[in-house]
Subunit: 454 residues, 2 copies
Amino acid sequence: MAEWQRYLDENQARFQAELLEFLRIPSVSALPDRAGDVEHAAVWVADRMRAAGIEHVEIFPTAGHPVVCGDWRHASGKPTILIYGHFDTQPADPVELWDSPPFQPVVKEGRVYARGSTDDKGNMLIPILSVEALLKTGSALPVNVRFIFEGQEEIGSPQIPAFVAAHRDRLLCDVVVSADGSQWGEDQPALWVGCKGLCGLQIDVQGAAADLHSGTYGGAVQNPIHALAQILASMRDPRGRICVNGFYNDVIPLTDADRESIAAVPFDESAYKKDLDVDDLFGEAGYSPLERAWARPTLEVNGIWGGFQGDGVKTVLPSSAHAKITCRLVAEQIPDRVLDAVEAHVREHAPPGVRIVIQRFPASARPYRMPVDHPDNRIPHGVLTEMYGKEPYYIRTGGTVPVYRLFLDELGVYTVTFAFGLEDERLHAPNEFFRLSSFQRGQRAYCRLLEEWS
Amino acid sequence: MAEWQRYLDENQARFQAELLEFLRIPSVSALPDRAGDVEHAAVWVADRMRAAGIEHVEIFPTAGHPVVCGDWRHASGKPTILIYGHFDTQPADPVELWDSPPFQPVVKEGRVYARGSTDDKGNMLIPILSVEALLKTGSALPVNVRFIFEGQEEIGSPQIPAFVAAHRDRLLCDVVVSADGSQWGEDQPALWVGCKGLCGLQIDVQGAAADLHSGTYGGAVQNPIHALAQILASMRDPRGRICVNGFYNDVIPLTDADRESIAAVPFDESAYKKDLDVDDLFGEAGYSPLERAWARPTLEVNGIWGGFQGDGVKTVLPSSAHAKITCRLVAEQIPDRVLDAVEAHVREHAPPGVRIVIQRFPASARPYRMPVDHPDNRIPHGVLTEMYGKEPYYIRTGGTVPVYRLFLDELGVYTVTFAFGLEDERLHAPNEFFRLSSFQRGQRAYCRLLEEWS
């Protein structure tokens, strides 16, 4: 048994306790009054990196949430790997649907339940622990390592492009390895070769200056909720195609090879439906569910509100209605062009009697794709095959990790996703969890990855 | 000067203080945890009636909020008038849009600002004070009077049909006079000859069992908000006509006489738009704004919610979306038939991938119409003409007072609306107010009405 393996085994209880401590910090990047907690998480990460033996650890303030960097660069002549992860989390609401408080982690049957457990605190802690195991049991790492951990991934990394541009010298590397992502299953590894871009906006529909009596004014003035429903409904046809003019303009059509590669990944539709508790799937006609989720752009309403939401009846004709929309983009869609198209559509389809205000969300991201046969996939492929006894699938994700495209554009390197979450771990949803078996397996995998990459 | 007039003048400061006390009780009938406050308001009303000299005052419990009755029946051989009003209020939300707390009444420039001030506490207190003035300054009333004050008008009077059926003997009368309503303007009286019926339901659209990551699942499963928007949008055509099959089935078309009578009431569209701060009106094509508001059925979305409503971005594909709808009905629409039609429409237009739950609101009301030339309008018409120096308009309201139709069906009598609110007093909206000048004028008017009706 490798020395580092013994170290990992002997320190596992401490590592798990540290994970719980990390998860207790409610570092929700979307909520302005949680900014102090995101800062606190940055300090926690920096301290943990230093304890592991990582050098030059530094917290960089940005115009938003901070970035934590560090490195260990004494493997002369060896490649440099930049390890990426994020210490911010999604909001926890609806809190009432959680079985236990989202920032009071609970361990049950080998799973730790907490907001941020799989996305991404559990995953991003792993490479720090692996580096510690290698450094404490030898005196050197087999390769040079740099780290960049950010605190704004869940809000689309708005300050990271400027940060990367300003700190290129701290980030130059041969390849990026991302600790934000997932494997296919407990027994099946995967390597990601694409993630979607993101952009979004809020639609505010303003009717009369105040809420009105629905009897006195109903029928005579526009109802902003009805107006908003009409706008939203007009964006999608009955077969799931987005009807926003120009929405698909920059989409590179799926090739036969793309479709074959996606079809090679098993997809059990009835298990998928059962898991989600839905009777039918729904999406753009002419594409399989995986093609839609991985390789076709989407437009989703993330939230809607207006008028009376309480118990019982309130016969009000509300003064305003609101919706938040985000689009997931595929290569080579450009966020601003898509937002232009959506905004034009909203204005064109707004019925009379309301005023429309559009607020574009500040963060957006371009889509990312990596060729399946890129040489940077070779070593991770080998390590995963060794550990799982099976070759990894090449998969994409409908999710967005804005930095992948950014690293490609700014640093000229691809990002290999090497992370151990699973898709069923309710990321972004109530009762998010992370398997402790994945936490341990990930630590071994990172030790092996660094060894192999030398 | 009549003795009662002197009494009203001398006691006006006390009456206003009592009104403020009444308005401090947050008797919101829609909110279950305000039931005790509605009860408290009933006790306050009963005490105030007894203090005025009204006899047989009694609080009747129902399966919901209580009813308060009383009478004075010593005018042998004279008609019996049943006076109606309600001591419950609408909810106060959105509370943040109020300039002062809704249940802490503030008097400014001759207006009292509070939830329930015009609808209906200010108006319903008036006849009690007028009866007190007549009894304290003479020893008898010129007619027999009965009272029925309810605590559930704002939720559609669900228990009142059973109450009226069970207590007919306490309510038998020659005519009902309602203290819930309004005049046309400060210088222009009006008599109501119709109010709309009401029915409603909540639509719950259920998608996946939990909120999902909009990247991972977006495009592959139905979005309940989008599904709901599609259902709502399908209910109305671009020209404002309700597209629910059968919705207009039982509507009696407007006659030329109806249209002339409505057209005789002045309507200043540009002032109306300015007051509401809207650029355009919107409603069913082929009808004037007043025809739409008074004499055509409407379907309004009162509230909608689903997904993330907080600040910033949360890229969630929500598990459910919800809307509350109420319809205002005109003669001879039947609430259950309209709800059947709306429910069938919702089920027919629900897209795949979601489950629909429909909750019908328990309270509904049939529409009410009174012939303009009915003899019961003669005396109120004379009193209003005398007080304002102008003949009243015959108007309708798009609002609903469920008991009018109920009294007609159960007691065989029409209801004359004799109340002194004005439509600009923001009923059901933030910063509701009541003019103290109307409060005083109403007291005089009720004294004159009872004198004349003898």
